[in-house]
Symmetry: C2
Subunit: 473 residues, 2 copies
């Protein structure tokens, strides 16, 4: 016998139990997205490498999964290519396509490609897997799901407000405690100007982003290592110190400090407007203005948003921001967008650790008809039909094996009700029902079946059963 | 400006309108799967090539999308490999992973890998995209979705019955007219034995499978071309002639003809049992016993099932069968399974051509709050919150632009109701509502909002809005 088959490292199978939990997360997220008027789109798993390359930095390019050209992929190679045999150069000759790395770049590509059909502001959500050739480790996978929600074609701060409302409502519906951190890239640019090194904004934000993890001393070291002078580092430090102030005090302090730096002031103004609007709506999550929040990605140009669980230390469970130039790389400049991405896999881990999934999620079938033979089964099939017409999930044990084994199947699948039809039941047009948790058994007539469904099956189950008249779409 | 970006040929973006239609199909299919006690699993997009290769024939191996190994993929090559530079051999050295080609082989791999956690009979469904490097053409894509439903670990014909009930109920719920064709591989094997060429079963089934498309004369030519002698071809012809008989007559005829061929008789017995059971349940679709149905795939060992639309000539919209040995290739012999796969993309095309999607599917947002400025928006945000708490999909126009442009946005998105808040409305704690189809406008108080939602918004929309108390899972 051959050894057990396996799957590529960093990928996962999802069992039924995991699927039901995951669907619970996705459905809650989708429901909130829809409540705010966002609509779904999907893009292909494969994109042309020309679309993907250069969008995620050098590191990102290396982490792209490339798809070998079909057929004789060597035919596109010249003798020179063969002679060099350098894998980086060769891979771009023998691969034209790659797996998507995130949902943001495909979305930007989508907007540019379909701009004539799109109504702006375009509010879309997208829930699909992405693939990264990262080193797999606990909580980091090579295939994982992102749930992105973006609005493109509007620079109103009301969009940032709405996204924060969405974040708040998603985590409230999932009962996950959330802390929402907010910053603004323009304020970071203002700080770089204040420190006299505006051109070093990327190095500064990359270093600041690690503040929470490694502390100010290490951030200082990194800045110094990047060749930023002591005076500038002192200037930055004088601002970062404000983390001890309240959010309102921080804004007042920064407005004074950044008085001569228009870009920084603009960032302050945007933050003030956002905080003002946030006071007008009801938000459950705690909100923090975090000056060190940068989220490495260089394409953010305004608001930066990041969410952490208040209970489990697992890193960011949602994040995003405003980008003014994303579609510019595909030839459509001047379109501002803002969006956030929910990390379904980390949210799953948080909920699993906090036992936030209901037990009942693990069951699905509500009624099992035992198999006592041909005539009994033919009779039972009619009962199953009636139950399914009432939207009860019902199955029939397919093989005529021992009662014990059939009962053990019902127990393993946590099926709450068992149906049995014998000669008596067939002759009297009724069915025997056993409640698996109470052990109670009774014989009911076909006429009583509807009442039984309403009063017992529907009361027992914890999981969904759509009422028969409810349209799915 | 650079040229418009594009996506790889044979792949597709799905717009919101297409997504809503597709979700309608998937939700209907899922709902029926669940009603019969099937539960969801998912497997990764990438499988090890050792799992995929050799399972789909030589042609299938060529159509697999292979993923280039990350990092220096050349380092795994020996000097000999370099010298040969033959693409077929090279590709297996530089690629360890491939994209899944169907859902059946990953399912077999899943069952073997997780056999200790699985309760048998294992009833699972799986709805995911698959990828094939086929030549793209109308109705054939390189990325497309399969909806598979299988039961593994039971050889009862009740499973075949159940799958046909599922097929029937899915197409009934989608209002797609369906013809279900049924055959049995054992009967085909019996015919090959009857014709004296049992070892030519594959050639015979491949040729017979084309009967409907190309007619008997061409099938005969193909058989002859494959080296099957005239006498055998005549024997096969004498059986294929029965297509003019009724299903019941066919079975009687075959039982006589195949009397000396146990494998063929076993197939007849299975079909008789299935047709007997089918009479006991209610099936809307027409059912045909089609002796020429073979469905190329060699792994079928018993029942073969295929579904066509009765209205649109588009090929198979669902198909499957019983396989006794599928998990054997992964080291778990003796487990019988049966399943069918719904082709979501073709079902979509059929429904689209027959106008079976409701118009209302194309809208999503139910209420738009117009943007008249800061104070009005802050007031309006409270109204939106109340509406969303009642599960009404509500959005706010984010930018304070001309009324005309905002109304045009509402029209483009087919939003049925417009909300407006001016000074009067704010002072009197009410809101102005416009019904976009009737043109009717009225001012309602916050107290009347609930009644308005119940009597007007909920009546107008054709698409889903889950009642607030309905759990998603």
């Amino acid at each position: 016998m051959s050894s057990k088959p396996s799957i590529p490292k960093g990928t996962r199978d999802f069992s039924t139990e995991e699927m039901l939990k995951r669907e619970y997360i996705f459905e809650n997220i989708k429901k909130v997205f829809k409540l705010y008027g966002y609509q779904p789109i999907e893009t292909p798993a494969m994109e042309n490498l020309t679309t993907l390359l250069g969008k995620y930095g050098d590191e990102g390019d290396k982490l792209l999964f490339r798809i070998l050209n079909s057929g004789d992929f060597l035919s596109s190679l010249s003798n020179d290519d063969m002679a060099i045999l350098e894998y980086g150069k060769l891979s771009s000759k023998i691969c034209e396509k790659g797996l998507r790395y995130d949902l943001t770049v495909p979305f930007a590509r989508y907007v540019v490609q379909h701009r004539d059909e799109i109504v702006f502001p375009f509010k879309r959500y997208q829930i699909q897997p992405v693939w990264r050739a990262d080193r797999p480790q606990k909580g980091r996978y090579r295939e994982f799901f992102q749930c992105d929600v973006d609005v493109i074609g509007s620079d109103s701060i009301l969009n940032e407000l709405e996204l924060i409302q969405i974040i708040d409502q998603v985590f409230e519906s999932l009962k996950v405690g959330a802390q929402i951190k907010i910053n603004n890239r323009k304020v970071l640019a203002g700080i770089a100007e204040f420190a006299g090194v505006p051109e070093r904004i990327t190095d500064i934000t990359v270093a600041l982003d690690k503040f929470e993890k490694i502390g100010w001393d290490k951030v200082k070291e990194e800045l110094y290592g990047k060749g930023i002078n002591n005076k500038s580092i002192k200037d930055i430090e004088s601002i970062i110190n404000v983390i001890r102030l309240t959010d309102a005090e921080k804004l007042i302090f920064l407005r004074r400090i950044l008085l001569d730096f228009p870009i920084g002031l603009e960032g302050i103004k945007e933050l003030e407007e956002l905080f003002h609007l946030l006071e007008k709506v009801h938000i459950n999550s705690s909100i923090v203005f975090d000056l060190t929040l940068a989220r490495g990605l260089n394409y953010y140009t305004g608001a930066i948003i990041e969410v952490k669980s208040t209970d489990i230390n697992i890193g960011s469970i949602c994040g995003g921001g405003r980008y003014d130039n994303l579609t510019g790389i595909f030839g459509l400049p001047g379109v501002s967008g803002v969006g956030v991405s929910f990390g379904a896999d980390r949210i799953y881990d948080v909920m699993d650790q906090l036992n936030l999934f209901e037990k009942s999620n693990s069951s699905s079938t509500e009624v099992l008809l035992l198999n006592f033979g041909e005539a009994e089964t033919e009779y039972g099939l009619k009962v199953l039909r009636i139950l399914r017409n009432m939207n009860i999930r019902a199955e029939l044990y397919p093989d005529q094996i021992s009662l014990k084994k059939q009962m053990s199947y019902a127990n393993s699948k946590k099926i709450p009700f068992i149906l049995m039809a014998g000669e008596n039941e067939i002759n009297n047009n009724c069915i025997k029902v056993k409640n698996m948790s109470s052990g109670e058994q009774k014989v009911i007539s076909m006429k009583e079946l509807k009442k039984f469904v309403e009063n017992e099956i529907r009361q027992t189950k914890g999981i969904d059963s759509l009422p028969p008249n409810l349209k799915i779409l």
